[in-house]
């Protein structure tokens, strides 16, 4: 219990200590997960929309695969990316292993099925008559899709929030492919694991609270976007 209370007090001390090493870690967490989220959004929303709105052979199988991907253990994805980027792996020439690039690749693969899956569910929730109505009013298929996506905005933002939540808090994959190198690939989650292993429970809790706070702020920002969708 002492550890917990001391950790909470220390969290605030640390946040306001302006320690450059800490801000480096926070910045890397945000930028790696942010860039991965951009990639998975750009790929996931069109795929989710396409799967909700079109009928094609193998669609059921693809849906099943997507839902499986949503629950896939991140550490297994990390292992896969590691084997791909390893010196002895097929993409070893890139030299991406133990760099932020490898972490972005892993996090993109982790968050992509979440963004696509939730987008699909949100778009399917839109009244199916809307599309026919739009088409009858002379909209092109492209215009109709964009309008439906706007209609499903709340659900699509939830998809992005879910994708972000999964990767900002993920530890196994980034540890595996990033290597937790101080000043290079150390992010909040791997720093928490490290401090726990060192027995610095206070500091680990403090970092956990920083992560929580960060996640909260990002979600508030996204929900403000969602709030605008209501007005």
């Amino acid at each position: 219990m002492d550890d917990l209370i001391r950790g909470i007090i220390q969290a605030f001390e640390i946040i306001f200590s302006l320690n450059p090493a800490l801000y480096e870690v926070i910045w890397l967490s945000l930028s790696v997960s942010g860039i991965a989220l951009v990639f998975s959004t750009v790929l996931g929303i069109p795929l989710g929309a396409a799967m909700a709105l079109t009928r094609f052979p193998g669609r059921q199988l693809m849906t099943a695969l997507l839902y499986t991907g949503m629950g896939f253990p991140p550490v297994v994805i990390g292992l896969f990316v590691y084997l791909m980027l390893s010196r002895s792996g097929p993409a070893g020439q890139l030299g991406w292993l133990f760099t932020p690039k490898a972490m972005i690749v892993a996090q993109t693969i982790i968050s992509f099925p979440l963004v696509a899956g939730f987008t699909m569910a949100a778009v399917m929730g839109v009244d199916p008559h809307l599309r026919r109505q739009l088409m009858s009013l002379g909209a092109t298929p492209w215009q109709a899709t964009v309008t439906i996506l706007l209609e499903a905005k709340i659900g699509v933002i939830v998809a992005i929030v879910a994708g972000f939540g999964a990767i900002i808090s993920e530890v196994g994959a980034v540890m595996l492919v990033g290597g937790n190198i101080e000043g290079k690939t150390r992010v909040l989650t791997t720093a928490i694991v490290l401090e726990t292993q060192k027995g610095n429970f206070d500091l680990a809790i403090a970092l956990g609270l920083v992560l929580l706070l960060l996640s909260f702020l990002v979600n508030v920002a996204l929900l403000r976007l969602q709030g605008k969708a209501f007005s």
């Binding site: 540890m175 190198i181 292993q197 060192k198």
Partner: protein
């Protein structure tokens, strides 16, 4: 318990079958040979180790102590023979004495006299000690040592041991919080501080192994074969060769810091955010990467990046079986010595700990039989033992 009974039955059956050779063993031990005749003289070549020579000469790797004992006996009368203090360390050019097979057996009994004890000495305690939580370093677990020896403890004492393999820092913290009953770690200063602060009692030496500097075969810093570890590290720094540090406050990381401090390189002193008195030392430059992970992960990262790193020999040897390109470049410096200690968590501070189990574990760990198991562990697989037994009882029996 059943497996122990089975073992007893086997021992008794063996005694009957062989006409009880074990009972005659102590007489070998008491009349230690004063001199020995060399059937063969061998000069140590590169890549030789005692067990390898023993296998060549006698067809049994486990006879290596006999060669060492014979050479040491010979050294007393003829200084051209080597004096072998540590069975793991022999140098190129040393002259060794290989006795006849029969003499070797006598010497072997002498060398291992202490462990050749009659079964009655190892009578199991009557009460079971139950669940015991052992906080230890990753090296004892990753090397497979615990898996090899713990079943014996569990059978003898009716215990079930739960091993928590973490860094030394966390292992000690688990002890301080009373979350473990006994700790087995390797960082002498921390261990002493742990006992002094009243968290632990009954600290005992158990064994040691050594650290080695690993690196890629190409060896860009040119340190291969150096025996001065500080000079080797200086050369790594001066050539800006990539070095991977565990950076996790583990025993290995603490050792690594003392090695950097032994160089005259300028070091950064990083204050711990939590405890300002705790300072981490590290050399300056991008070539030094601190990854804050266990030994296994550090070896993986260093191997991938073809970088230098510091590892304990046991974990490195275990990993060589799974394919790792790194090779040992620097070894044998006394500063690379790595002693392990076992400490019981203080039951006065944490009444819930299994004090009886912890005491039994420490007795068992330092007993001659366990020490014998420790010094044999790894020989079959790697041609050399991974750990050197070092308990007080063992050292006394060896003299």
């Amino acid at each position: 318990m059943l497996s122990y009974l089975q073992k007893m039955v086997l021992v008794v059956a063996l005694l009957l079958l062989t006409g009880g050779p074990l009972t005659s063993a102590p007489t070998h031990a008491q009349s230690s040979p004063k001199s020995v005749a060399c059937e063969q003289e061998v000069v140590v070549q590169a890549d030789d180790w005692l067990s390898k020579i023993a296998e060549k000469a006698y067809g049994d790797v486990l006879t290596y102590p006999a060669i060492a004992e014979a050479t040491n006996l010979k050294n007393a009368e003829d200084k051209s023979f080597a004096q072998i203090e540590n069975y793991d360390l022999i140098e190129v050019g040393w002259k060794l004495c290989l006795p006849s097979a029969a003499d070797a057996q006598t010497l072997l009994d002498f060398a291992l006299a202490a462990p050749e004890i009659t079964p009655s000495d190892s009578a199991p305690v009557t009460t079971d000690v139950g669940r015991l939580v052992l906080a230890t370093t990753t090296s004892t677990e990753n090397s497979g040592l615990l898996a090899a020896i713990l079943p014996d403890f569990e059978a003898k004492y009716g215990a079930s041991v739960e091993v928590i393999a973490v860094g030394t820092g966390q292992a000690i913290e688990l002890g301080e919080n009373g979350d473990a009953d006994v700790v087995l770690v390797h960082a002498r200063d921390r261990e002493d501080a742990f006992v002094e602060a009243g968290y632990g009692v009954n600290r005992q030496d158990v064994m040691y192994n050594d650290f080695v500097i690993l690196g890629p075969e190409t060896d860009p810093a040119g340190i291969k074969g150096m025996t001065d570890v500080a000079a080797a590290l200086t050369q790594i720094a001066e050539t800006n060769s990539l070095f991977i540090s565990r950076g996790d406050d583990s025993g290995t990381h603490i050792k690594e810091q003392t090695l950097w401090q032994a160089t005259s390189l300028p070091l950064d002193e990083v204050k711990d955010l939590e405890d300002a008195k705790k300072i981490t030392y590290k050399p300056q430059g991008d070539w030094y990467q601190s990854i804050g992970q266990g030994m296994g992960a550090t070896l993986t990262v260093a191997d991938e990046q073809q970088a230098y790193t510091l590892s304990d020999r046991a974990t490195y040897l275990a990993r060589t079986l799974e394919g790792i390109d790194l090779v040992i470049l620097v070894e044998g410096d006394s500063r690379l010595f790595n002693p392990y200690g076992v400490i019981a968590v203080n039951p006065e501070l944490h009444p819930t700990v299994n004090a009886k189990g912890a005491a039994a574990f420490i007795d068992w760990m330092t007993s001659l039989e366990t020490q014998q198991m420790i010094s044999e562990f790894g020989v079959a697989e790697f041609g050399q033992p991974l750990f050197v037994a070092d308990s007080v009882a063992w050292n006394a029996a060896k003299q």
